[in-house]
Symmetry: C2
Subunit: 314 residues, 2 copies
Amino acid sequence: MDAVDELLSIRAAELYYEENLTQEEIGRSLQITRWKVGRLLTQAKEEGFVRIEILHSRARRPQLERRLRDERELTDAVVVSRAGVRNEDELQQRVAQAAADYLATLHPRPRVLGLSWGRTLADVAHHLRDGWSTATDVVQINGGVSMSQRPGTAAATAVSIAQKGGGAAALLPSPAILEQRATKEAIEADRVVARVLGAARSADAYLFSAGAADHRSVHVDSGYLSPADIDRLVASGAVGDVLGRYIDADGRIVDRELDARTVGLSLDELRRADVAIAAIAGEAKRAVAAAVVGSGLCTVLVTDESTAHHLLDG
Amino acid sequence: MDAVDELLSIRAAELYYEENLTQEEIGRSLQITRWKVGRLLTQAKEEGFVRIEILHSRARRPQLERRLRDERELTDAVVVSRAGVRNEDELQQRVAQAAADYLATLHPRPRVLGLSWGRTLADVAHHLRDGWSTATDVVQINGGVSMSQRPGTAAATAVSIAQKGGGAAALLPSPAILEQRATKEAIEADRVVARVLGAARSADAYLFSAGAADHRSVHVDSGYLSPADIDRLVASGAVGDVLGRYIDADGRIVDRELDARTVGLSLDELRRADVAIAAIAGEAKRAVAAAVVGSGLCTVLVTDESTAHHLLDG
DNA sequence: AGGCCGCGTGCTCATGTGAGCAATCTTCGT
DNA sequence: ACGAAGATTGCTCACATGAGCACGCGGCCT
């Protein structure tokens, strides 16, 4: 496109998109035929001079969703738009809302939903509308008796989602990570724990998030791991955790010994699920998101625009 | 619009603008009639969920231009878009480019152009294309023997515009502001100066900018005024200067004595011009811009989107 | 209960727009 | 200078879209 046409295409785009003139009228005003105007507008779009954004907290990016489905072998993907977002928290809320929306429109509605916990899932529970399902029981899939400043959020999340979905919550009464392997095995042998884990294994669908491998992790907050533990894990290649289990960029368990002390579904069990929804947002979680998607831990990914871009274009 | 329609309108907008589906196809996909889709799209636009921006250094805002013409009684206005601008300097360049474009397409082409000087006008000269006119002489309209670190920019601006326009430049060989009123009168009485001023008064069109009343002013740089002088002027209500003459928010001369020592066209002479183009950009110059427009110093304003907004909505 | 008003809906019809095509103009190479 | 290849232009035609209208439903007042 030569310089004259470039300028003309800009003038045409202004008159078309800002002044709402018809191509005919634009032609008259710029002394060109209406066909030329149409072509100039096409060129303006092609050259990227025209940007159209959907500004809404529930706006999504269908293009990226399709690419994720096609190129990363997911059964479904939800990508929320970043347009108009002022801070990282707003983006997290958008993703949580989107995950809630996805869950509420899932067909068939799961009778039993396996659930992890964390900041993101607490937000999902909050955004979920009352009556999203008529009979969905919720079962925790990893340990989570929280020792942090806000105890019981893990339980609250599960209970809230179950209540709003007209079902009951089955809580896993166990810490996330135990100090001794033997204790972990003893706890899993406990009648109640074993029954919950059994239910967890037969859930129709799973909803979970992932944590970044950094010092702000809930596991550090909760006291299950020390900052030094995290550093050691990172040094061994950890990019983040799923269900409290730390994985490397290829989705492999980084520390088998630690993994053996972690209560809940194993990652391979999760990989066998028909419906496994991962809600992962934010710059800090790009690496885990890639590991989760790359190693088949989820069938459905709910994320934000920037993370999606990183998964697709590196 | 209820919540359901709001969400639907967002989905429809995504499919329409991002996926390029027809309203018919969108209707099929969302289980609604194509007329409903059309209405949802209209609503989405009305509610401001759809933002369309023209991203180009030469993009303008015709809406604001029209409002400026209509509401501020200008014969013409050029408002450059702010979309995609990273820093203030880029915006200044856009305004300078727009002023150059305006000048080059002015009908009828001026035979004599009265010109002021400064950073903005130097940029305009730079952006002006060679051969913008076939016979336009340029005459300086205010004093400008510069004592700053970059001497001769005032002259260079005039000469460059004249050369590119196939004409000659008449320079005003005088300082901008003199220390004694008597000296100023003596200089204006000088044969050469008087002839240039005479030519200046009979120019077909004028192009000038305005300075903010702050310490970074060219007049401080050039040594014509001290920072203390500026403080004193500001205390008396000065918002900036035009042709070296400081005015208040109503466009009135702030200091008659200083004004009497300033060489060049008087502001009232400028106000009588048929074509007076002011190129004013940037946050710092909002107040002067308002004073210039409000007191009828220009017939044409070239400015940026934010300044235009301030002129219109306060 | 009846009837009126206002809104949302699905439609007709006129207009706006993009795909595709033939004619024309440009730009090269020979 | 001439002609071929490619780009550009103005066009036809089919499709997409918005304006305007009539209908029907629900809310509300008497």
